[in-house]
Symmetry: C2
Subunit: 260 residues, 2 copies
């Protein structure tokens, strides 16, 4: 059972996802989203409107907490508890009408993610991960699947363009060892790891608002996340991440990624 | 207005999509789909069960027509009218729980696609294209969007692994000229071209069952499809395909793909 505080924070996180989902759904597949002025683009409007709601609700509920968001930066980031928001993770998917983007809501305690939500507002799918608890998908507990070896693994990455040249070579080396490689998905792919349909997601160039919410979701389903050297992820990580449904596959992936 | 025959064929195609959708939904995200025996794998069971239904319904309704399907090959492929089926286009998406695969149903007349359906049975989204008619998405007419130049285009391909080395270089050359490149999506991406959310899809290695249904969907929304040399697609095409929402972008893409 979570501590009373954590339970209140989980309930708050759920209310946040409800609020952002209502906003993001209004913009999905509207002509306005394909406008691309760099300044006040409708994508930015959707992002900013959702993040504004997430921040306002959180400041009202927990004024002593910090907030890090993709659009509006850091407030009280030195606080014990810091909320981390990405209103639309998977902007390209969002603007092209693919319902595989997501809203990411995380709570970190002393830099470590303890609550994570991956919310897909169009298909109305939500993964909730809480430290010490079983991850839930639309209310039902989920579990990762075992992966007896890399040669049995389905590996996913959103785009080969995430990687610089050295990272791309390392990823290709790992992908060649796996059974199947799949592209696309953004945060949704990490939810599918938690639900036992993917074995590995390997990406680079992520920011804390991209990965903090994923950690409790994957860990609470029996999986593991780390950076490419196998270190646990926190607010200071370098943005190179691995998610593995089977913790043994995490070690195997690190070994291949770090080969000389 | 379609000819009376074509209207009857369109109605039949809709019934086919209803039937295959009911079958495919039963297998989506069931543990059984992740089994991967090469012979009687559950993926194959879902594919075969859906294609069996598609063929049985079609043989009963139009015994003089030909049928080409991914799983069970060709029957009467010399007939004037040939139905072309791919029960699950996007097998990797299907087995990993991403609802961006689709069932493809096409009717060709003398080798030329005249009816196409892209059906996503989980999200219950269906594009219907008919020669000479406006493409419909869940019953409502759709239109592609204009693309004033390649530098404004969002280009999509399911996976860089579709291409051989020369094709990969040609695709990379084209992608560098575009504004954004996105991966994943299979047939669903062609539907998003028809709906005006993507500008280009460029792929290779496709079979007639992968592309015949796409042609009427994209063309009926105001777009265009061709092979990489700009020739119209038919049953004899080589599997290198371009879909463009703006027909002018098709020519521009061919020019870049065929640069020496």
């Amino acid at each position: 059972m979570p501590s009373p505080d954590l339970a209140a924070f989980v309930a708050h996180a759920g209310r946040l996802a409800d609020a952002s989902g209502a906003i993001v759904r209004r913009y999905f597949r509207t002509p306005v989203v394909v406008d691309d002025k760099p300044d006040a683009s409708p994508v930015t409007v959707a992002d900013r409107e959702a993040e504004t709601a997430l921040r306002a609700l959180t400041e009202a509920a927990f004024p002593g907490h910090g907030i890090i968001g993709e659009e509006f930066g850091r407030v009280h980031a030195e606080a014990e508890y810091v909320w981390v928001f990405d209103p639309i993770d998977g902007t390209k998917a969002f603007i092209t009408g693919k319902p595989l983007f997501g809203t990411l809501i995380a709570l970190t305690r002393r830099g470590v993610p303890v609550i994570g939500i991956i919310d897909q507002p169009v298909t109305r799918e939500r993964w909730i991960g809480v430290a010490g608890e079983r991850t839930r998908f639309n209310g039902a507990p989920v579990a990762t699947r075992p992966c007896p070896g890399l040669d049995r693994a389905i590996i996913n990455t959103t785009s080969p363009d995430l990687f610089d040249a050295a990272e791309g070579r390392a990823f290709a080396r790992l992908a060649r060892r796996c059974k199947l490689t799949q592209y696309g998905g953004d945060c949704y792919a990490y939810g599918l790891v938690a639900s036992g349909f993917l074995d590995l997601v390997v990406e680079a160039g992520l920011k804390p608002h991209d990965f903090c919410a994923l950690v409790p979701v994957v860990a609470g389903a029996g999986g593991a996340m780390a950076d490419w050297s196998g270190r646990a992820l926190d607010l200071a990580s370098d943005g190179r991440v691995i998610a593995a449904g089977d913790p043994a596959a995490l070690g195997a992936a690190v070994a291949v990624l770090t080969e000389a």
